[in-house]
Symmetry: C2
DNA sequence: ATTATCTATAGATCTATAGATAATGC
DNA sequence: ATTATCTATAGATCTATAGATAATGC
């Protein structure tokens, strides 16, 4: 095993990458440092040369999870507006994403635990929410930017809530119904100029 | 201290009530049995005469949390349809609820952790989701029951997602924006016959 | 006789640190 | 000289159980 700076950087990234995945799968309290380091092929003692504390790892790993999902959004975006928002919704609200939280969206996997985390983690979360809302807003039709932002916030909330619920229920049919229903209604919402008819 | 059956029932309920609140505040792994029993004025040894395991407590306490919120929904419902759905939305998406998860909705406080819990907890969750969707559907206008159910699922998802996100971000203005925006759009959605204009 | 509760503790964690080792990098 | 990693461990948890005590309830 090597000890160069380049090697340390690689090791650091490997630890964060594994933690990022496992946190989404098992929760922020789902495993210990020894277990994590073992999966990275290391031992527990080396951990604190990479991170000041476990909370430091949480902040970095959650942020890394945001980044991974962000890249997927950016890919979806490259298809052009309107069409790609429908694609983004389908890319989010499906059974593959539901059954693989480790490679999925960190909000639907961790939002309530992030809410109980330290300031740094929640600051990074604020930035990511802003960025995701912004991205969805640009994919919405219509010239009214404020209205687009509002709708983007609704769509983002519904995506996160639907995935959280679809994972929490044990009834497979109900879980699928949640995913399909919300995907369909959001796609309608995304493709129209106004949110609702006035009464 | 007494040892009668009536006393044991009271003690049992007290433990569940405290756990139900603290789980929503601190997460399902947020405290130990010793700490819980101490808050109930008891010691750790007595716990296992009430529950077979910690997971048994989780199932019972999460279900109790559902019950508490259900009662609040039923109260909101007593105002009559349409008006009361707007009231329900405002009752959910506000800063008091955001800042007091211990007495609030168990889904927005715990959904991802419930997803990682045992079968029993998730079965109870399925029932509760069904019941909440049903309740929201009855408050929606229109004769088409299937359309009402679909919209109810969207509204429920958006409520849970918006609260989860509003709690996760550290930026107070962004948090408020999420709550207000989603509340407003959902109330529009709830008061109209059709979800969207056709293009 | 049964049992709700208590004290005490076994055994398994978990975070963090100390000190040794072996490599890098000046 | 510095440091990335290792082994080992301190000290604080945590779940669950054993056995004693004191009350209920037949």
């Amino acid at each position: 095993m090597g000890y160069s700076k380049a090697q340390k950087t690689r090791t650091h990234k490997r630890i964060v990458s594994i933690a990022s995945k496992r946190f989404r799968e098992k929760g922020l309290a789902g495993f210990g440092i020894a277990e994590l380091m073992k999966e990275a092929g290391l031992t527990v003692g080396g951990f604190y040369k990479h991170f000041g504390s476990r909370d430091d790892l949480v902040a970095e790993a959650v942020n890394s999870a945001f980044g991974g999902w962000q890249r997927r959004l950016d890919v979806a975006k490259s298809g052009g507006p309107s069409v790609s928002l429908a694609k983004l919704i389908d890319d989010y609200l499906n059974e593959t994403h539901r059954d693989n939280p480790g490679s999925g969206c960190a909000f639907s996997a961790l939002a309530p635990e992030i809410a109980r985390s330290d300031k740094r983690t929640r600051s990074l979360t604020s930035e990511q929410v802003r960025s995701d809302v912004q991205l969805i807003a640009t994919l919405l039709p219509g010239r009214d930017k404020r209205a687009a932002r509002s709708r983007a916030i609704l769509i983002f909330s519904a995506l996160v809530g639907a995935m959280s619920l679809a994972r929490a229920v044990s009834d497979e049919a109900l879980s699928r119904e949640i995913l399909k229903t919300v995907a369909e209604l959001l796609k309608n919402l995304a493709s129209t100029q106004r949110v609702v008819n006035s009464p």
